[in-house]
């Protein structure tokens, strides 16, 4: 499958700077709907680490629509979502450790095709975000 056949997936959030415990609201849309040979669409809200260490990842919301179980055809498009966020971990931009929050949509289609789109946001209770340790 050529690049031009990639589905056009967009993820948008109403607010990208959130306080602990706040509600994340947004929507994703697949322009023209999922491809005919789409295998699955996954929506997740998660935090993950980057930096020197092995990546850690944890979900606070996950939903999947698959062709195998017949849910893909009934998936709303555009699909709005609202997720209550936990109070921690805060977004963090350290030297060895960084913590990122994202809403991620993954579309798998064809034999090997895959599109991943993310919308990043920050979660922090600090006065300046993302959190840091300097005075």
């Amino acid at each position: 499958m050529s690049v031009s056949d990639e589905p056009d997936v967009r993820v948008e959030l109403t607010n990208t700077s959130l306080r602990p415990g706040a509600e994340l609201a947004g929507a994703f849309v697949i322009a023209g709907g999922p491809p005919g040979d789409a295998e699955s669409v996954e929506l997740s809200v998660l935090w993950h680490t980057s930096g020197k260490g092995t990546e850690d990842l944890a979900l606070v919301y996950y939903a999947a629509w698959t062709a195998a179980d017949g849910t893909l055809s009934g998936m709303p498009n555009p699909h709005p979502f609202a997720v209550r966020l936990p109070r921690t971990p805060w977004s963090y931009d350290g030297e060895l450790v960084k913590i990122h929050w994202v809403a991620r949509v993954r579309v798998r289609y064809g034999e090997t095709g895959e599109v991943v789109r993310e919308a990043a946001f920050t979660l922090s209770g600090a006065t300046d975000t993302p959190a840091r340790n300097a005075d």
Binding site: T54, Y61, Y62, Y92, V97
Partner: protein, 399 residues
């Protein structure tokens, strides 16, 4: 949903491929060694090169089998969905497997025939061994990439995997579990009731006596083994005998490492002695966990034979990251922030500890951590340095 046993499937895959690698490696190794012993006059050093080449697939194979056994014997845990290979992937996998087997048989058979039938030189034997693998790689290079892509597709996405394998929260229970877990990823740090203030912090680092004991144990173990070889070589040299190999090149790195261990053991012993001179240092705080933007009363006291002077107290933030390097895990740590609370004091002292308003909270996940400690440092007997770390938790305030 049916009970999936993907671990067993992966184990079978590793066992089969590991077995093939081990078979190829061991047969080649035996052939090389047989050739070396049967025709020692041809042993011009290449035999050891071929032996090492044979050890690589053997080691890979044994590692694969060991990993498979480990997977099979591992206690049951939440399993990700079983990888479901498409028919195209299965067909391609079969073709690749057949090609691999053909290359293995040709390679090993060629080596045996070349040596036993024609008694060819080692260099030619090596070429005969490696040629089928190169042909296999050149013919199937594109197919290997395709198979890797198809296999990757058969695996669940990282998010799907996390959704199934995360021990908590369970997918079906979201978001109720999340809301009940008040501070996800913020580790609990235990304290005990203080005498003057509300909390007494516990030490975060390993006691100096434990460090010394561990250092001595490791140094004795390492140097004990190395000394067997060193004594043997020295005895040969004293008797004027040739050890038959060059001991200098081989033993020097091991001896240097051993000396380094002895040096660290001496240093740890010195630290232990200093800790004994200082005695017990206690640190109490008026509140815990610490909240960003908060100010806390701190008291540091000492009970020991010699007074600690030039005492400094600081709130310290350290990041640590665990990563895989080769076949082992390593952890890197770095102090990223220090917030002094007192300097050049004598004990007992009372001071105020301020947590910056923008400070990151304590954080711990499987491979990454942000840790906070209160460090007390000073000098005893006029010059001997002393340091002790107390574990603290910085937690966001109620929101």
């Amino acid at each position: 949903m049916a009970a999936f046993r993907p671990n067993r499937a992966v184990g079978c895959f590793l066992f089969v491929w590991g077995g093939m690698f081990a078979l190829v490696g061991s047969v080649f190794l035996v052939a090389v060694l047989l050739a070396a012993f049967n025709a020692p006059q041809q042993n011009n050093g290449l035999v050891w090169v071929f032996a090492v080449v044979a050890l690589l697939p053997l080691a890979l194979g044994v590692g694969g089998i060991a990993f498979a056994v480990r997977i099979w014997t591992k206690p049951a845990e939440p399993s990700p969905p079983s990888p479901k290979l498409s028919p195209a992937a299965k067909a391609l996998g079969l073709r690749l497997g057949a090609g691999f087997l053909l290359a293995a048989v040709t390679s090993v058979g060629g080596v045996l025939v070349a040596h036993l039938q024609f008694d060819l030189p080692f260099l030619v034997t090596g070429l005969i061994f490696s040629a089928p693998w190169w042909v296999f790689y050149l013919l199937f290079r594109g197919r290997l990439k395709e198979f890797a892509a198809l296999t990757a597709r058969a695996l669940p996405s990282p998010e799907g995997l996390a959704a199934v394998t995360s021990p908590s929260p369970k997918l079906a229970e979201w978001p109720s579990v999340l809301s009940s877990e008040e501070w996800p990823t913020v580790p609990e740090v235990d304290t005990s009731p203080g005498r003057e203030l509300a909390h007494e912090l516990e030490r975060a680092d390993l006691p100096a006596g434990c460090r010394f004991g561990c250092a001595v144990g490791v140094a004795v173990f390492w140097n004990g083994i190395v000394s067997v070889f060193v004594v043997s070589v020295v005895r040969d040299l004293i008797r004027g005998q040739d050890p038959g190999w060059n001991p200098g090149w081989f033993l020097t790195p091991f001896v240097l490492v051993g000396l380094g261990m002895i040096g660290y053991a001496v240093y740890a012993g010195f630290q232990w002695a200093v800790a004994g001179l200082v005695g017990r240092v206690r640190l109490e705080v008026s509140g815990h966990p610490l909240i960003p933007g908060g100010r806390y009363e701190v008291r540091v006291s000492q009970r020991g034979p010699f007074g600690l002077g030039g005492v400094a107290v600081a709130l310290v933030c350290e990041e640590s990251a665990t990563y895989v390097a080769g076949t082992s895990k390593s952890t890197a740590a770095r102090v990223v922030a220090e917030h002094p609370a007192a300097e050049h004091e004598v004990l007992p002292l009372a001071t105020e500890l301020a947590v910056p308003a923008g400070a990151m909270h304590s954080f711990k996940s499987a491979n990454n951590a942000v840790s906070w400690t209160v460090r007390v440092s000073g000098r005893v007997l006029g010059g001997l340095r002393y340091r002790k770390e107390f574990a603290a938790c910085v937690r966001p305030g109620e929101t």
